[in-house]
């Protein structure tokens, strides 16, 4: 797993120093993102979706996640932003909730605490798996390491209050788009 996580400098270190190959690398990122997009578009999994923000920069995406059925978040949709580093997929993309999100593992500015986006990132993950992980995170938070302690407490303690507080924070995706 570790070897997948690091840039394979051992056998391509000489490449990394040349300027032209940097370009080739950015090209390969583009290509990878293109094929991930293709895969995502073709598989058409309900409830998750993502797309580049502009046609000039493939490294900035915006995504949409619907809350899974049978959770507090059922029927709600959230907007996220995804920023891919130039050495993707060797480094994890940076993902934030753009919609206000009241959730044990998400802080008030939308940052997410999810292991696969941090230390457990692997190059075998892709946009689709990330989105699916985020979607399941909504239903199964990791209350052991909360960013939002109040939410973590209420999750098990007082579901009704959880739902009420969560809804006070919720903003419809249409409103966010209008801003």
């Amino acid at each position: 797993m570790d070897s997948q996580n690091t840039t394979p400098t051992t056998f391509s270190s000489h490449k990394m120093q040349d300027a032209p190959t940097a370009m080739a690398d950015s090209h390969s990122v583009t290509k990878r993102l293109q094929s991930e997009l293709m895969q995502l578009m073709m598989s058409n999994v309900p409830g998750i979706s993502a797309f580049p923000v502009s046609d000039s920069n493939l490294c900035q995406w915006t995504g949409t996640i619907s809350g899974p059925e049978g959770t507090f978040y059922e029927g709600l949709t959230y907007k996220i932003s995804m920023t891919f580093p130039p050495n993707y997929p060797y480094h994890a993309p940076v993902i934030r909730f753009v919609s206000p999100m009241w959730h044990p593992n998400v802080d008030m500015s939308g940052n997410i605490c999810l292991d696969i986006l941090k230390e457990k990132w692997s190059a075998i993950y892709n946009v689709q798996t990330i989105l699916l992980s985020l979607q399941s995170l909504l239903g199964e938070p990791n209350n052991a390491s909360p960013l939002n302690a109040q939410a973590a407490d209420l999750w098990d303690g007082n579901p009704a209050e959880y739902k009420r507080l969560m809804m006070t924070h919720y903003k419809d995706i249409g409103e966010i788009n209008d801003e």
């Binding site: 290509k31 293109q34 094929s35 997009l37 293709m38 995502l40 578009m41 073709m42 058409n44 979706s49 993502a50 797309f51 580049p52 923000v53 046609d55 000039s56 493939l58 995406w61 915006t62 995504g63 949409t64 907007k79 249409g174 788009n177």
Partner: protein, 712 residues
């Protein structure tokens, strides 16, 4: 005093003249006019000779009157040295001429004169046709006309006669030309000899005839000649469409048209007429695409002959090209033509294939010098060239056809499909023809685009080798059975072939058995590789031995499997068949249709969807209705286009899920940028707009203030 007398006398003379003029007028009105009126005119008009005689009599009467009226004047005012006398004579003559002129302006006279002149001109034309009609006849006619001319001269109404003659020959010559030469293109007489013939006619009998009647002038001949040229151009312009249809038999006609087509006006007229004819007769949904294409090819050749610069061609071909671009099967027809595929639906365009073979190699050489910088014979484009006119390579219609579309990709895709079908239909791995075609196509499209085809051809070559290896009796491993000699397979590199219809088919057990042996042998030869059979592809030679007849067919596997089932028992229902064959009902029905058409099966009359084997041939009453057009085994381009559109839709959907609203050009640039090259996005904005409009109509999208958004 003497002056006063003279003055008085002169006054008297004037009054006398005025009186005389008045008297003559009333006399003429009372006696002259009724005399020349012919009560029998309607009756005699049917008889040309009597028309001549009546005309002559009328003129003679008028001449008599002329002499009678003139007589007193000529001795009263006889003094030639007296200026007053001269003036009086002139005045009287004017008055007389005016009177006669008015008399001649009568409708009947005009009609008769017309008929007479026309009759004589027609006689000239006949004379030219038939040299046997002797010259005495012409001499007689000329003598007759000369008499008329004399009378005309006496009456001094040459102007009127000239007008009549001019009117007649302006009518006569066009009619003569269109009668003699219309719809004759093949014969040489349309070119040089035609002109000679016409010149002979003009300078010979017609000029003789006309110049007897009217004052001869130098311009007459050239004017007549111009008229003839003009008529010929008009005829050619009207007939251009047919000339193109009958090309190349009509080359002589083009030759003369080229000779006569000089003015801008005529060129413009030719273009308009031709385009109108195209729209009326060709560019409508009743015409086959292949016919339009072959007409286009003829157009290119014909107009290139007519005008090597290609300006006219450029203009007339625009509407044809625009129309062809809208046709769905244009690409298919062109590609089939180039590959010399004979297909009932697309018609025969094998000419394209021949052209391809003969033009090979010239393509790349010409492409270098596009601007003509090194062309020492360069001249500016003609004045009527369209602003975006570009001189295209001479009569290279393959190039013209390929330039119908902005990119050659559409052709490449179709070529791959057609070639795949061709290769799959092969039975003996004989691919010489395909290889030759492929090489020729490479010259046109370049190596890289046809890379897939290379692989496909190579697959077949490799298959031939592997197949012969498998059938080699010396390589039979102990304990296994040899593969029956009837089974041959082509091993395809899936990635490089067009998508196959991956439909299953239940083959007869014996065949499955053979295929398994084949696979086993293959796995031995190529270790670690396994064959995946595409059971629907390929062909089977079938011999049916029925009670009273033996029939041979070469059919697709599904048809063969179906008829194999009838070996067990002689009736099946549709559902049974489709279950046994593992086919959907439509395909089953189509296969049934084939056998019914060939009188091997019949549908039970009492029970629908039940089919009986005809052991004995019987008179079939009704033939089946299902078209059994040979099914293409690979996805056709249209299917591919639908498939592509499905991909594009998921992109648009994903795009608009995350970005609320987008104008069309953003969507276009997204699609261009994001869809991987392997899939390819080659639509232009207009095509995208069409697609999005369909989506709006299907209520999947909505169009609000210039942007598209998802309909919620």
């Amino acid at each position: 005093m003497a002056a006063a007398v003279r003055l008085r006398q002169r006054n008297l003379m004037d009054r006398l003249l005025n009186w005389y003029i008045d008297t003559v007028r009333s006399h003429f009105a009372l006696h002259g006019l009724p005399a020349i009126k012919n009560p029998n005119v309607p009756g005699i008009l049917s008889d040309l000779i009597s028309v001549g005689n009546v005309l002559k009599r009328v003129l003679a009467t008028l001449c008599d009157a002329w002499h009678h009226y003139m007589f007193p004047i000529s001795f009263i005012y006889a003094d030639n040295s007296n200026k007053d006398d001269m003036l009086a004579r002139i005045r009287f003559r004017h008055s007389l001429t005016a009177m006669i002129d008015i008399a001649l302006s009568d409708h009947e006279f005009q009609l008769m004169a017309h008929m007479l002149v026309e009759h004589h001109l027609t006689a000239c034309g006949k004379h030219e046709e038939n040299q046997m009609v002797d010259d005495r006849d012409e001499a007689q006619r000329l003598a007759f006309l000369a008499e008329i001319r004399q009378q005309i001269d006496v009456l001094q109404v040459q102007d009127r006669m000239e007008r009549i003659v001019a009117e007649v020959y302006h009518k006569f010559i066009p009619r003569y030309i269109s009668r003699q030469y219309a719809r004759i293109w093949e014969q040489e007489q349309r070119a040089e000899p035609l002109m000679v013939e016409l010149k002979n006619l003009i300078y010979g009998p017609i000029t003789r005839c006309v110049s007897v009647l009217i004052r001869r002038d130098e311009l007459l001949e050239s004017r007549l000649y111009e008229l003839v040229t003009e008529c010929l151009v008009k005829l050619g312009i009207e007939e251009m469409f047919d000339i193109v249809i009958y090309f190349p038999d009509s080359i002589p006609a083009l030759g003369y048209l080229k000779m006569c087509l000089k003015t801008q006006e005529h060129r413009a007229q030719l273009v308009t007429e031709f385009q109108n004819a195209c729209h009326a007769r060709l560019l409508h949904c009743g015409a086959n695409t292949s016919d339009i294409i072959s007409f286009y090819m003829s157009t290119i050749r014909a107009f290139k002959l007519l005008e090597p610069r290609g300006v006219l061609l450029d203009k007339v071909s625009r509407s044809i090209r625009r129309y062809l671009r809208d046709r769905e099967d244009t690409v298919k027809c062109i590609v089939n033509g180039m590959l010399e595929v004979e297909d009932a639906n697309t018609g025969d365009l094998s000419e394209l294939g021949k052209e391809l073979a003969s033009s090979s190699g010239t393509q790349s050489a010409d492409a270098v010098d596009d601007n003509g910088y090194s062309d020492m014979n360069w001249v500016p484009d003609p004045i009527d060239a369209a602003p975006d006119f570009r001189n295209k390579r001479s009569s290279d219609f393959i190039g013209s056809l390929l330039s119908l579309y902005d990119n050659k990709e559409v052709f490449v895709k179709e070529i791959v499909v057609v070639l795949a079908n061709r290769l799959l239909d092969l039975k003996n791995y004989e691919i010489d023809r395909e290889m030759m075609h492929l090489e020729l196509l490479k010259l046109l499209f370049g190596e890289s685009d046809l890379h897939n085809c290379d692989v496909m051809v190579k697959d077949i070559l490799e298959s031939k080798r592997v197949d012969s290896n498998i059938h080699d009796p010396t390589t039979v491993a102990p304990g296994t059975y040899p593969v029956a000699g009837i089974v041959h397979a082509s091993m395809l590199s899936k990635l490089f072939w067009p998508a196959f219809r991956d439909e299953d088919l239940a083959l007869p057990h014996v065949i499955e058995e053979q295929l398994n042996r084949y696979s086993a042998k293959f796995s031995i030869l190529k270790s670690a590789r396994k064959l995946t059979w595409l059971k629907r592809l390929g062909s089977v030679d079938v011999t049916l031995e029925l009670e009273d007849r033996t029939l041979d067919f070469t059919v697709s596997p599904d048809r063969a499997s179906m008829i194999y089932l009838f070996q067990e028992r002689s009736t099946y229902t549709l559902t049974e068949l489709s279950a046994r064959l593992n086919l959907d009902e439509i395909t089953t029905r189509r296969a049934l249709g084939f056998w019914i058409k060939n009188d091997v099966l019949k549908e039970d009359e009492s029970c629908n969807d039940k089919f009986i084997l005809l052991e004995r041939a019987e008179e079939s009453k009704k033939k089946v209705l299902l078209d059994d057009a040979a099914e293409s085994s690979v996805q056709t381009t249209e299917e591919k286009a639908t498939e592509e559109m499905r991909i594009y839709w998921s992109y648009v959907n994903g795009m608009l899920t995350n970005i609320p609203a987008l104008p069309i050009d953003r969507i276009q640039s997204f699609l261009k940028m994001l869809i991987p090259k392997e899939v390819g996005y080659s639509r232009n904005v207009d095509e995208l707009r069409d697609f999005l409009t369909v989506m709006v109509a299907e209520e999947k999208l909505e169009y609000v203030s210039g942007s598209y958004r998802l309909k919620r």
